[in-house]
Symmetry: C2
Subunit: 453 residues, 2 copies
């Protein structure tokens, strides 16, 4: 009985045109990574569950896809354990492996496992799919690609300046106008300190992260609920309503955070990075935004988020500095800074703004029609010459009706059609039709290489 085929929810097939567009994005990002000296690595899709569990919080553990052990997967479960139905415990007995959830934990594992062979500072990039058992919804998939670049083993702020330059280059090449928003975890710590609520940094930053969406009064209401005093909330207010240029914001922060050593360090770092970036002269704008609080679990210094200026969408890239990437695997003291490009959101932005060059939709440059065996064989010889010159070319394989062959060329957006019929065969010529201009001319194969090359 034939099945009606489908794919698991939250996953996608990519058609040739979608792949061409995605490749354009990935190739642009990869090209930029390489220009900056990042070196590619790949890690396996499956990691030991012991590597993955506990790294993404309790919720994350649930969202990991787990692989059923091969062979007798029940062998280490007693009947009592099975009917006891303790799911987390049974999961551990049924499954040893899981699919990677992000590229950061596998990278940390990689660095620790291969530290003897690695040259520090180590600049790596990695572009691979990750899997999360999230509820699928618009723009959220269970399989999606991450594109990460990280530098580990150096705490120089030059790395931060480099990363901002990288972001600038990627989006300049893709044609997306962006704003880079910058903050520093140390500034957030300093804010919590100067309002007298140092131990409430998470509550505070979670609340102020929402300021763009819900406004300052609602943020303050939330802080009141969390038990912050009116005094703290009032001290916080000017920090949340910084305005003016980056220089002005930095001056205001210095004035307000003077009593916090950590806070002042954060401001100083931010200033160094901003000045360096400005000095180099870039296309995109970098903007201080102290409400930015992404990745608070792991970022310890600069925090980066990139927004598209011309499309309403979440951040399309983000990153920051972390001081303890590999600690959980027993290698302490390795500082790093990294950025991740959100390929799926970038794809949505590119589609919305139609930013692809025309050539992306093309497969071959020319197709030879097929009038029979002799003509086809001669055409294949011409095609061989074209390919040797680097020109993608193909033969319509079947001796079908001309109309069918032409409509194939049309549907595939092939810009030239080459016809070798009886007379062309006798003359060693080719009738070359330019599909967009509607013109045609008789040429030799040498002329054809020049025209299409």
């Amino acid at each position: 009985m034939a099945q009606k085929p489908s794919i698991p929810k939250g996953t996608r097939d990519f058609s040739p045109i979608e792949m061409a567009r995605r490749n354009y994005i990935f190739d642009t990002i990869k090209g930029a990574f390489r220009l900056f000296g990042f070196k590619q690595i790949e890690t396996p899709a499956m990691e030991n569950l012991s590597t993955l569990m506990g790294k993404y919080g309790e919720e994350g553990d649930k969202l990991l896809f787990k692989i059923l052990n091969s062979g007798d997967f029940l062998k280490s479960c007693s009947d009592e354990e099975l009917t006891g139905r303790n799911l987390p415990k049974l999961t551990n007995k049924l499954c040893e492996k899981g699919l990677r959830y992000d590229l950061t934990v596998p990278f940390a594992r990689f660095v620790v496992q291969h530290r003897a062979e690695l040259q520090l500072p180590f600049k790596r990039f990695q572009i691979q799919p990750v899997w999360r058992a999230d509820r699928p919804q618009k723009g959220r998939y269970r399989e999606f690609y991450q594109c990460d670049a990280d530098m580990v083993g150096s705490d120089s702020l030059n790395n931060e300046i480099e990363l901002l330059s990288l972001i600038d280059l990627v989006f300049k090449r893709l044609g997306i106008n962006v704003t880079i928003k910058l903050n520093n975890r140390k500034i957030l710590a300093g804010i919590a300190e100067v309002i007298g609520e140092a131990d409430r940094i998470v509550d505070i930053t979670v609340a102020i992260d929402k300021i763009d969406k819900i406004g300052i009064e609602n943020v303050n209401a939330e802080l009141r609920e969390k038990g912050l005093s009116e005094k703290s909330i009032e001290t916080l207010r000017p920090l949340l309503t910084l305005s003016g240029s980056n220089e002005e914001k930095v001056e205001q922060l210095k004035a307000m955070l003077g009593s916090s050593e950590t806070g002042m360090k954060g401001v100083e770092e931010l200033e160094t990075v901003l000045n360096g970036f400005d000095d180099l002269g870039h296309l995109c704008k970098a903007e201080v935004d102290v409400s930015l609080a992404r990745g608070l679990n792991y970022y310890t210094g600069i925090i980066i988020e990139v927004k598209a200026n011309d499309v309403e969408i979440g951040s399309i890239s983000g990153g920051g500095r972390y001081d303890n990437l590999t600690g959980v695997f027993g290698m302490a003291g390795l500082s790093g800074v990294g950025v991740s490009f959100g390929a799926d959101r970038i794809y949505d932005v590119m589609n919305t703004l139609n930013l692809y060059p025309d050539s992306v939709a093309q497969s071959v440059k020319v197709i030879f029609t097929n009038f029979g065996d002799k003509e086809a064989l001669q055409s294949m010889k011409y095609i061989k010459t074209l390919r040797e010159a680097g020109i993608p070319a193909e033969l319509y394989p079947d001796q079908a009706k001309m109309k069918k062959q032409m409509s194939y060329a049309d549907a595939e957006k092939i810009p030239f059609v080459a016809i070798v019929g009886e007379s062309e065969l006798a003359e060693n010529t080719i009738m070359l039709k330019n599909m967009s201009e509607g013109t045609q001319e008789k040429v030799t194969i040498e002329e054809m290489v020049k025209i299409l090359g």
Copy 2:
């Protein structure tokens, strides 16, 4: 407690140099696919188990990696079912999804699912990892890449000729000397027919496939065991000991298979393909080999296998024509022909023969040393100019000892080191060291772009 990190057995991490080499292979194959007009698709890593099960035989079903359902994975199992320990039945209840086992079944599923949007003939390529719970051993992994190109919706033998040309181009570009071995399923059917054992085709071909390894006498012994008569075995002997040129082998086959219509059709197809391939003029040799019996479950016409001439290793590429790719998903009558490149074996051959160009090992073309903040900032400006000219360049991020910086450049095989110290900063010059020649000269950034560009 820190864990000692490792990866699941049969899986691999790829280091920067390994990735550079693998990318060289993949890029070469991709470039050839595109020159021939194949269009890339991707399918999800996870497929529904209903798509995968039953497609690879009973053994294959066991080798599928299955994904434990999210949430309460026991919800559809009664206590009795659990303690009954019927593994295949429980697998179905615990798991709805599995990891893809090859690219062929997902491609068939793709064609059927998207047939309304597809233009036939459809030429697709796909390069993605697949997963098999095989026992890991040397050269056999649980995660490995397949590189497949197929043309479906055309039964012209021109497609076969194109595929052989594709194989020729790929290995020419990689620098691997290969021999293409050719057979036709119809010839195998014809052989079984003329020796009077038409219904024993599988036994016969499984046995004769081993002739290279165990010799004809052992093959005959195996056939005797399978119950073939002495007369059949004697009639078979000359078919297994064909010698001479392809033309001579074809003539011998014609003489011996004359009574089998199917067999003669197979010989005729083989002859057409060989003549077409010869006419086009290729580098590699195509060779008739009637003992070739790969993919007997699905191939219905030509069978292709590629052997490296200079390394002892199994086939590094293979393929053939199949007439019922999509039948199992309810779409009958779609013929196709395809080829698969074995990336891991090709990688082993390339490593053994050291066939990579030198540039593969390089990350950036030049690294700027770091003497302090001012010098670093000026260096970053130069680096920006270099990158804009397409030259990969980086800054050593930290103000470390010169020796450490130079040994980094050395270990990373960076061909040029640029030094901007106090005097260069004052003069707007750069001291450029050529690491392989051991020379250095003072240049401006414009000169540097010319030298490295």
